[in-house]
């Protein structure tokens, strides 16, 4: 009887121990990740501009150290309410006139039926990006058919158009994401960068290290190297992980800025319907890296308009 009780007690303590270890296991929670500190951000950025900007030789180079050091929080009125001192050129392009910018960036936004968010996005982003004093242009790629939304394909289309205009850096940006830290320069770093690693809907934590969605800065050459996105991911989900897998396949690592520079806010919207096949596509994606992407992109361009605040591309997929 005594022996039985002792063994029963041992089993109880073992069960408690297993339960406690499982309850506190860190792998079940938000990930800690390596990041670039604020003082190293500028060194990591690739200073390259489009040809027309490079040919301008009138004056000094723009200084970005103050913007990075101060890292102001701009996500508040009046920057979210109206365009301040509108000097944006037709087609949503801007470059500072008093100095030579070091970075040229094409911001590609896939879009369908989110007018209110697009309006908020354009107002805030122009106020935000002009203070960074970079050369940028906003491309809005609208899917103009009733098929399921294909975010990846729209990115491919936008990337082709932007690369045709000689942009060396692409920012693949969702329309509902708003950067909160001014120090996060919208330029490409040496490795593809996951920009929104501190997103408010994830409680400013990174759920898992392989997360590569939302806003991504990638060089045009790297995007060509991995053959862009897969065109097969219709509906919500999976295409970001596929791009991450493509980069891993090419031994290309990604990077992130520190959480203080990577805080993003997501606008409220109704949730999309998940793509049920996305897990299957992710699993066998390796077979299609070289055949499915930029080199197999098929679409019909319905319209190309230069609006005041953005370049509008309407496509049928």
């Amino acid at each position: 009887m005594i022996t039985f009780r002792l063994s029963s007690s041992v089993y109880t303590y073992a069960a408690y121990l297993v339960l406690m270890v499982w309850l506190l296991w860190p792998g079940r929670f938000a990930s800690l990740y390596e990041y670039i500190e604020g003082e190293n951000i500028y060194d990591q950025l690739i200073r390259k501009t489009t040809k027309n900007i490079s040919l301008m030789r009138n004056g000094l180079r723009c200084d970005y150290s103050e913007v990075i050091e101060e890292n102001l929080s701009l996500y508040r009125p009046p920057f979210t309410e109206d365009i301040i001192n509108n000097n944006v050129r037709i087609g949503g392009e801007y470059y500072p006139e008093d100095c030579l910018p070091s970075f040229s960036t094409a911001i590609i936004v896939p879009y369908r039926q989110r007018e209110r968010q697009l309006n908020q996005f354009l107002i805030y982003m122009h106020n935000y990006l002009r203070r960074q004093r970079i050369h940028y242009r906003i491309f809005v790629i609208e899917q103009y058919d009733p098929k399921p939304f294909n975010r990846a394909k729209l990115f491919n289309i936008g990337a082709l158009i932007a690369m045709g205009m000689d942009y060396p850096c692409l920012v693949l940006h969702d329309v509902d994401l708003m950067p909160m830290s001014l120090g996060h320069l919208y330029a490409c770093s040496r490795k593809p960068r996951h920009m929104c690693s501190s997103l408010d809907t994830f409680r400013f934590n990174l759920p898992y290290r392989g997360l590569f969605g939302g806003a991504v800065a990638i060089e045009s050459s790297a995007f060509l190297n991995v053959n862009g996105f897969s065109n097969m991911f219709s509906g919500w989900g999976g295409e970001d992980d596929d791009l991450y897998a493509r980069l891993q396949d090419k031994q290309i690592e990604i990077c992130r800025f520190s959480p203080a520079y990577s805080q993003y806010s997501m606008l409220s919207h109704r949730k999309e319907t998940p793509n049920k096949d996305r897990l299957v596509f992710l699993k066998n994606g390796k077979l299609r890296y070289h055949t499915d992407g930029l080199n197999s992109l098929v679409y019909k361009q319905v319209g190309f308009k230069l609006h005041n605040l953005f370049t509008h591309v309407l496509v049928e997929t």
């Binding site: 406690m20 309850l23 506190l24 860190p26 079940r28 929670f29 938000a30 990930s31 408010d200 809907t201 994830f202 409680r203 400013f204 934590n205 759920p207 898992y208 997501m266 409220s268 109704r270 949730k271």
Partner: protein, 328 residues
């Protein structure tokens, strides 16, 4: 028929079958059913969260009459804690929660459980047991039956804090139910069937009396439970709703939820949401209880004394708290 069913309801246990009574099964089944019902849509959750306080209030009165020793509320409390723990560890999206936040929650929950468990265990230390020599004494005095919960102490009451000497027979207090002399500020609990030293109240949630022996542990347990519930609600709501940052503490961003629309779009998110509302509901009642305790401790009286109308002026607030903390 019901009695026969209840008599036959048994589960295999070590050393033979153990009988399970209906008031032991009901809280677990009721709680889980109501929580699953609340997560269906907004109107169901509104209905459930109005129903739960009313149901518990009604059952408290009902069981107080027909079954005073019922463990219904004790099991309801334990089931609530277990449900919230399982909900947090299995349903709340943990990939958005830092490991240290989880450690804080587990720590608070463990501390509250330990305190309340010790409160229950130490209750017997406050019970006045043994056979007094009062049988030989001739007890005189009038009877007062208007208090059904606590018996009336007869003879002259000595309200000084020092105990009456044994030699002074005239100032000793006697309990009519226990048929023996008891120290000052001891009161009879009908449910426990004995006198409890400095009884505050009989707590149906812990299924024991709160008195001199376990009052401090009880207060501490309530505080830890309140903190655990608030932390649970904050973590779960900021994980499933849209959070807004409030301030930074040692690199951890403290957030509050600011947009909880679309909560019933997905059932597991709705479960997290309704679980958080339930935790906040519990937190409100526990906060009220803590406030009452703080008031009575500051005044130097117990809830039983307050209800009996014994408005004795103890010295001052600071002295009362010192006495409470030292357990004198």
């Amino acid at each position: 028929m019901l009695l026969t069913f209840q008599d036959r309801l048994r589960v295999p246990w070590r050393g033979g079958a153990k009988q399970i009574t209906l008031d032991n099964v009901a809280p677990i089944a009721l709680l889980i059913s109501l929580q699953l019902l609340a997560a269906i849509n907004f109107y169901c959750s509104l209905f459930v969260f109005i129903l739960i306080p009313l149901l518990l209030l009604y059952l408290k009165r009902l069981l107080g009459k027909i079954l005073p020793k019922s463990k219904f509320f004790n099991l309801w409390l334990i089931s609530s804690g277990g449900y919230l723990l399982v909900l947090f560890e299995l349903v709340v999206p943990l990939l958005e929660i830092l490991p240290q936040e989880n450690v804080a929650f587990i720590l608070l929950l463990s501390l509250s459980f330990i305190c309340l468990f010790k409160t229950n265990r130490r209750a017997v230390l406050g019970h006045i047991a043994g056979h007094g020599n009062g049988a030989a004494m001739n007890v005189d005095g009038c009877k007062n039956g208007n208090d059904s919960q606590t018996a009336v102490l007869i003879s002259d009451r000595d309200d000084s804090d020092d105990g009456g000497s044994v030699g002074d027979g005239g100032s000793r207090l006697a309990c009519q139910q226990c048929r023996k002399y008891v120290p000052p500020r001891a009161y009879h609990c009908k449910v426990c069937s004995c006198c409890v030293q400095r009884q505050d109240h009989h707590n149906v949630w812990l299924n024991c009396c709160v008195g001199k022996a376990n009052h401090r542990l009880y207060l501490l347990g309530c505080i830890f439970t309140l903190l655990a519930l608030l932390l649970f609600a904050n973590l779960a709501l900021t994980a499933v709703c849209h959070p807004t940052p409030i301030f930074n503490v040692y690199g951890v961003i403290v957030m509050m939820p600011d947009d909880c629309t679309d909560m019933f779009f997905q059932y597991d998110i709705a479960l997290c949401f309704t679980g958080s509302i339930y935790a906040l509901l519990m937190a409100v009642f526990i906060a009220i209880s803590i406030l009452k305790q703080l008031c009575f401790i500051s005044c130097g009286i117990t809830y039983t004394e307050w209800r009996r109308g014994d408005h004795v002026n103890r010295r001052n607030c600071l002295w009362n708290w010192k006495t409470f903390c030292l357990g004198q």
